[in-house]
Amino acid sequence: MDARRLPIANQIRRLRFEHGEMTQSELAEKIGMTRQTIAAIEAGKYSPSLDAAFRIAHVFGVGLDAVFQWEAEA
């Protein structure tokens, strides 16, 4: 694992493709963020606020745990 990678996995890329191949820009526009921020979240380089995490989950119509999973350190 990349040393800078946060211990939170996410399924945003898969969920985007399951929702009509939604682009990062489209998702960003729906939740009021920039495409670069969505890319950083997807890459595990930025951990979004709880508010933003709920908004992302709301766009996909799933629960928070279907989008983000905490990866406990071994």
Partner: protein, 138 residues
């Protein structure tokens, strides 16, 4: 590249160029640090900085029209806060270090140039920190 990252690059390049010319000219002895030439050069560099930043910011806004109208999102706000916090720390340390040239008997004009250099270095620190954080993700 987002509009905010472009803005950070614009700040970095324009400040480096304009104040590089100013401080470079003084360091190279092209202008007397105590004459009116220095004041004129400073005014020219500040006007050049403002014009250059205005033109480049318009170009950046035209190339990323959506970004420039949108308010900062939480990641951009975090990057702004972290970089300004770092820049403030650098500025405080550099201002405290001003006592060194003060004790070495520099003139008031020299001290003003050192203080200006402190501000320029703090601005550059903020711009570099923003670019690094934008590149790394946050």
């Amino acid at each position: 590249m987002s509009f905010r990252e472009k803005s950070a690059w614009i700040t970095l390049v324009t400040v480096l160029v304009c104040f590089g010319i100013y401080f470079g000219s003084i360091a190279a002895g092209l202008v007397s640090p105590r004459g009116f030439d220095t004041l004129h050069l400073l005014l020219a560099c500040v006007v050049g900085l403002v014009l250059l930043q205005a033109v480049l910011t318009v170009v950046a806004a035209v190339t990323t029209p959506k970004d420039c109208r949108a308010p900062r999102d939480e990641r951009e706000t975090l990057i702004q806060l972290r970089s300004q916090s770092l820049g403030y720390s650098v500025l405080v340390m550099l201002v405290l270090a001003l006592f060194i040239p003060g004790h070495l008997g520099h003139t008031v004009i020299d001290m003003m140039n050192f203080a200006l250099l402190d501000v320029v270095l703090a601005v550059l620190t903020v711009a570099v920190a923003q670019i690094v954080m934008f590149r790394r993700g946050a």
